[in-house]
């Protein structure tokens, strides 16, 4: 497979999807719907590519005797989900749902909860007012934390108003500048992709 056909396909669909934005014609709307549906279907196939890559990688590592027991446990977990879904379906109160609610979700959220401990450690060891900008960062963080704590007195009445003002104006202005920067960057990258200047998505040279 050369590069010309993919570049042509990319150009055509880029142009069509850009142009349809400005049209309310029923044909344009139908075309838009069809392309969006196809996009989702193709994307679902890419998800399955990822699943099989996981499987392949595990098989390769197990054949090299690397973390065999752990990988076997992982594979057992992996296989159990489609088997449960195939036999009992995916409704509420099925083994599939049970495994999600009692195995996957608790572990995943606990992994996330570990971050709370690392945030605490980082607050003690790394969050220092080494310079004036660092002090500004520190003070605004402290204001936010205090304003969203229930302490009473000024901290529950006046401080939230100060913190909300900081959030709504200076903080929001910086975030808006970042958003605009990303927006302009995405815009130019999209244009470069459509006209074929940006080709890194094609991968290797062949």
């Amino acid at each position: 497979m050369g590069r010309k056909l993919p570049l042509f396909i990319c150009f055509i669909f880029g142009l069509v999807m850009f142009a349809q934005y400005f049209s309310a014609h029923p044909t344009a709307r139908a075309l838009n719907q069809a392309i969006l549906d196809y996009w989702q279907i193709v994307f679902a196939f890419t998800l399955i590519v990822g699943v099989f890559s996981y499987l392949k990688n595990n098989m390769t590592e197990m054949s090299r005797n690397k973390d065999t027991v752990y990988r076997a446990v992982g594979l057992l977990g992996f296989l159990s989900m489609p088997v449960f879904a195939l036999i009992w379906g995916i409704k509420a109160d099925t083994p599939f749902m049970w495994t999600f609610e009692n195995v996957q979700a608790p572990m995943q959220s606990t992994v996330f909860a570990l971050l709370a401990f690392f945030v605490a450690s980082a607050s003690f060891r790394g969050f220092r007012a080494r310079s004036f900008p660092a002090a500004v960062l520190l003070i605004s963080a402290l204001l936010m934390l205090l304003s969203r704590s229930n302490i009473g007195g000024f901290f529950s009445d006046g401080l939230p108003q100060v913190a909300d003002w900081i959030r709504n104006y200076p903080s929001m202005a910086a975030r808006r500048a970042i958003l605009i920067g990303i927006g302009l960057g995405s815009l130019t990258t999209s244009l470069r992709v459509i006209v074929g200047i940006e080709r890194t998505w094609l991968g290797g040279d062949k």
Binding site: F100, E101, A113, S149, N150
Partner: protein, 270 residues
């Protein structure tokens, strides 16, 4: 190697503070922020029976924070008699959304197909959001359990965003951005957000520009929402622990800085 290092003490301290606060289980009163109030007022002011799309745009990792947030808003919508169409733009949000809608609907005696329908997951969120703008029934020909979209009393009258009062995105990441930049900008649908605290500042510019109509954030937001609804839930239960954890972090920052400046002074003095 030492078995118990400095970081372990900070970990232990946090564990004691949070667990202690939860065992004490004291309910705190709090001021409702204008952000939460605006979301509450928006949902409250919609005519009874309005159709809302609730999008579960989060993963299982944030479930402890997302659950009270989602529950509080879902309770309000069901209490008001609004009709809900549930979708998920992330695979992991699919089952969570299904369960949360089912549980909350049961609390208020709402019926599947009449008061709510759950459509489930579609991959590629931008395509899914845009496709629903054309036709929800074509994007989701079947509901989560494989029944035709047109079979239900609720969905028969909902073709696309024109028939929807608002989209409520319950998110732990930046997916609400896509609802705003594609759903709102392209099809003009009103976007509401119920997001984790970490994402609040990401959405502030959209809130300020009016592209996002209202937003509630974090466990604290959920607690405030529960106060407005006068119900007891996970948000209010966690408030003492949340405040204590904030104070603990502030203490750690202060202690770290005191030690830092003391060592700098000592270094200069030597």
């Amino acid at each position: 190697m030492k078995t118990f290092e400095a970081r372990h003490w900070t970990f232990l301290g946090l564990l004691v503070v949070v667990a202690g606060a939860m065992i004490l289980n004291i309910k705190l009163d709090m001021r409702v922020s204008p952000y939460t109030q605006r979301l509450y007022d928006c949902i409250d002011s919609l005519p009874d029976g309005s159709v809302l799309i609730v999008s579960f745009d989060h993963e299982a990792s944030s479930l402890p924070e997302i659950r009270p947030i989602a529950q509080s808003v879902l309770r309000h919508t069901f209490k008001k008699g609004h009709k809900l169409i549930g979708v998920s733009l992330l695979a992991e949000g699919t089952l969570i959304g299904y369960r949360l809608m089912q549980e909350t609907a049961r609390e208020y005696g709402r019926v599947y197909g009449v008061d709510y329908v759950y459509l489930g997951f579609r991959p590629q969120y931008i395509a899914a959001i845009l496709a629903m703008g054309e036709s929800i029934g074509t994007t989701y020909p079947l509901d989560y359990l494989g029944r035709p979209y047109g079979q239900f009393e609720l969905t028969r009258s909902v073709k696309n965003y024109d028939d929807v009062a608002a989209v409520l995105s319950i998110a732990d990441g930046s997916l609400t951005t896509h609802w705003i930049e594609y759903g709102q900008a392209r099809y003009g649908v009103r976007v509401l957000g119920a997001v984790t605290a970490a994402m609040v500042t990401t959405y502030d510019p959209y809130l300020s520009s009016g592209q996002m109509y209202a937003m509630m954030g974090g466990l604290r937001g959920a607690a405030e929402y529960e106060k407005l609804l006068a119900v007891s839930g996970g948000g209010a239960r966690g408030m003492l622990a949340q405040s204590s954890a904030h104070l603990y972090i502030i203490l750690l920052i202060a202690l770290g800085n005191i030690l830092y400046f003391a060592s700098r002074k000592k270094g200069r003095g030597a």
